[in-house]
């Protein structure tokens, strides 16, 4: 077919309109990038995805250069390598990038690239502390550390093009550049609805989750995939678990139905399960009206005995039950089975209506 180009010497198919980065990925070549965010307009901001295109005067950004028929692209030449390495080094000087105190340590694309390109010292001087915007962490959920920000713009893309909450944008110019909310207000005074998608896509430690701070580094964490317990969309999540405790929730990328997105509840409202107020033992009401703790055997025996009594006296239809629209299918199944098969009534319903 005619729609092919030459990728590292190999004829590779592409779909018209595809950028080099995407076409290469389909062709099995992963081109490193920091700013590229799948599904949004490429910005070419980070200059890490540079590739050599035969006949072009300079290296091209693979994320924003469309493939043309027969185009010859080289992704791994010495020149490319050198340019990418230089750009990583320049990014490293854009702020303070000492991983020692960074919550993103171990989950940082910039760090990955520095390692991949075997960078052993910082060639360029870091930005002076006085030239860096102060950290913003007055809201309860998201920490914005501008000393780590590389202005790649993924958060802006995520906010405007993915979640379309339109809360942040690129602001100011040149050395003063900053990712800002409307009026450069702190997040919690802005239009932000705290979906946290900006944190999800931040490739470095500029945007981190406040609640996860200090609870565990990425390598100490086990990821468990589950389904969100809130509305009926059924978003797929990763629970980040350390020592049996959830420390953070992120979205499962490329998974139906949410395709890597979450809302404020799904992302941040997981810790209710650790509330001290949780019911921890069966409770039985005493004659004086107060509850007392009981064993499972005692509580279940009591329920069974009372139900049997009522069935005997008033028939099974004198018992009714409401199942839970939040618990798992298997629980609802068990409950209706219990009502139908054990008690002998169809008086089983649930709050589907709210």
């Amino acid at each position: 077919m005619s729609d092919t180009f030459i990728l590292n010497g190999k004829e590779t198919p592409y779909t018209p309109g595809q950028m080099i980065l995407e076409a290469a990925k389909v062709g099995g070549i992963e081109i490193p990038t920091l700013c590229y965010l799948k599904g949004s307009t490429p910005t070419g901001a980070c200059r890490i995805c540079l590739v050599e295109v035969k006949g072009a005067r300079s290296l091209m950004a693979a994320c924003s250069t469309p493939v043309t028929p027969g185009m010859e692209v080289f992704t791994e030449t010495a020149l490319v390598h050198q340019a990418r390495k230089l750009n990583v080094e320049l990014l490293l000087s854009s702020g303070t990038h000492n991983c020692l105190t960074c919550e993103a340590n171990g989950n940082c694309r910039l760090q990955d690239l520095a390692y991949f390109y075997k960078i052993t010292d910082l060639r360029f001087e870091e930005k002076a502390a006085s030239d860096i915007y102060p950290k913003e962490d007055r809201n309860p959920l998201i920490v914005r550390d501008f000393s780590r920000c590389i202005l790649c713009g993924r958060c802006v893309q995520a906010c405007n093009e993915v979640m379309v909450n339109r809360a942040i944008s690129q602001g100011y110019r040149g050395k003063e550049s900053k990712i800002v909310t409307g009026g450069d207000l702190p997040y919690h005074e802005s239009e932000c609805v705290f979906c946290g998608q900006c944190v999800e896509v931040c490739p470095v430690g500029a945007l981190t989750e406040k609640k996860a701070k200090g609870l565990g580094r990425p390598w100490e964490i086990k990821k468990i995939r589950t389904t969100c317990p809130y509305c009926g969309v059924g978003c797929q999540q990763w629970l980040h678990v350390k020592d049996g405790k959830i420390v953070k929730v992120t979205a499962v990328e490329d998974a139906q139905p949410n395709m890597g997105r979450l809302c404020v509840k799904g992302r941040f409202a997981y810790d209710f399960i650790y509330s001290e107020e949780r019911l921890k033992t069966p409770l039985i009401r005493e004659a004086n009206g107060e509850f007392r703790e009981a064993s499972w055997d005692e509580a279940l025996d009591l329920v069974a005995e009372k139900f049997k009594e009522i069935i005997k006296k008033d028939g099974p239809d004198a018992i009714a039950g409401v199942s839970c629209a939040r618990s798992i299918n298997e629980d609802s199944y068990q409950m209706q089975k219990f009502f139908r098969a054990v008690i002998g009534t169809n008086n089983i319903d649930h709050c589907a209506r709210t």
């Binding site: 340590n105 520095a114 960078i119 052993t120």
Partner: protein, 356 residues
């Protein structure tokens, strides 16, 4: 027989053995006290002082790794004052050298980093000292970057007390203090025998495994515990692998015998052969004497051998066949091999190089 004594740690009554340090007594109860210079099976030196605790009626904070418990002692490990002291100590250690994890191979497996995280230190209060030490890149096995050294002395004790190679020691004093072989020599020019124990015990990125550099971050590696393939000691080793390659080898310290975490140069640095290009990857058959080998499929090789062995056995009897088993193969393989010769061929002509 000594009797147990009772002390109070963080309000909890704890029974301890006389002579036990506060640190040991606390850890036996699952109470966490951070340490850096402490390394089990070596002398407690109290060098880093991260393990400080409050002891009632003591005039100052006590380094728990060195202080023995005494009856009735009341110890507190987690007061705000102790945490503040620990923060101060860690910040001082941090400022004592170049501790930027971005370019450190030890990132993710650094005990100084762990404590900075654990204590939630945001930035050091003290100016960073730049020593400008040259890296010791003299050999292919161990890299030393003294700019990341916190002078905890673990490498020295490992070298002298665990391996007893007596190569490393402190030199100079005060802020010029550094660790190394005699006459501040590079490793390659010293009496070092490259057991790598110093790199294994180093809590920071000061002494690292050179061949592991840029071969994968700690969190990208898989760890498999196995038994070393060299001499008959049977050291328990942890192979750290990435992309089907061995990145580094560490002695397994989780379980005791036989090596209790130590390794020698072969076990530590002698594993390259596994992914060496010389490895045979396909059966080879020489169909006629004098001919060159030809690559073959397994089935072909099996059939060739079976048919030829059967022919020899038929013509000359089972005792015309012999097998050399291997002292390097597993028990299961030796078992299967001798069973094959005895049960399958019908000869006891089975031996191996036990005598070498």
């Amino acid at each position: 027989m000594d009797t147990k004594i009772t002390v109070t740690i963080d309000g909890q009554e704890v029974s301890a053995d006389p002579g036990q340090t506060i640190l040991e007594a606390a850890r036996s109860q699952g109470i966490y006290i951070p340490t850096l210079c402490h390394y089990s099976k070596t002398t407690n030196v109290g060098a880093c002082r991260v393990c400080v605790v409050e002891v009632e009626n003591a005039r100052s904070y006590v380094a728990s790794c060195c202080a023995p418990v005494t009856p009735g002692m009341v110890i507190r490990t987690n007061t705000p004052a102790i945490r503040a002291a620990q923060k101060m100590i860690i910040e001082l250690l941090w400022s004592s050298g170049d501790h930027n994890c971005l370019t450190c191979e030890q990132n993710g497996a650094c005990e100084l980093q762990d404590l900075v995280y654990w204590l939630q230190i945001d930035k050091p209060r003290f100016p960073i000292e730049h020593h400008g030490y040259e890296m010791d890149n003299s050999n292919t096995m161990i890299t030393r970057d003294l700019n990341k050294c916190i002078l905890c002395g673990r490498c020295i004790r490992a070298c002298n007390e665990i391996q007893v190679n007596e190569v490393l020691d402190f030199a100079n004093r005060g802020s010029y203090a550094k660790v190394g072989p005699a006459f501040d020599a590079d490793y390659i020019d010293s009496s070092c025998v490259f057991c790598g124990e110093c790199a294994q015990v180093c809590p920071t990125g000061a002494i690292t495994f050179k061949q592991a550099k840029f071969a994968g971050r700690p969190w990208e590696l898989s760890k498999t515990r196995t038994t070393c393939a060299y001499c008959g000691v049977g050291c328990q080793i942890d192979l750290y692998t990435k992309d089907n390659k061995i990145v580094k080898v560490m002695g397994n310290r989780q379980y005791g015998p036989p090596n209790e975490g130590s390794l020698c140069v072969k076990g530590r640095f002698g594993m390259d052969f596994i992914s060496h290009p010389d490895r045979i990857s396909k059966p080879l058959i020489r169909h006629q004497k004098g001919e060159a080998f030809k690559e073959a499929a397994w089935d072909e090789a099996y059939a060739f051998i079976a048919q030829r062995l059967a022919a020899v056995k038929k013509e000359y009897g089972p005792d015309s066949i012999a097998g050399l088993s291997s002292a390097r193969c597993t028990n299961e393989e030796n078992y299967v091999f001798q069973k094959f010769l005895r049960g399958g061929i019908g000869t006891n002509n089975i031996d191996h190089c036990a005598r070498l």
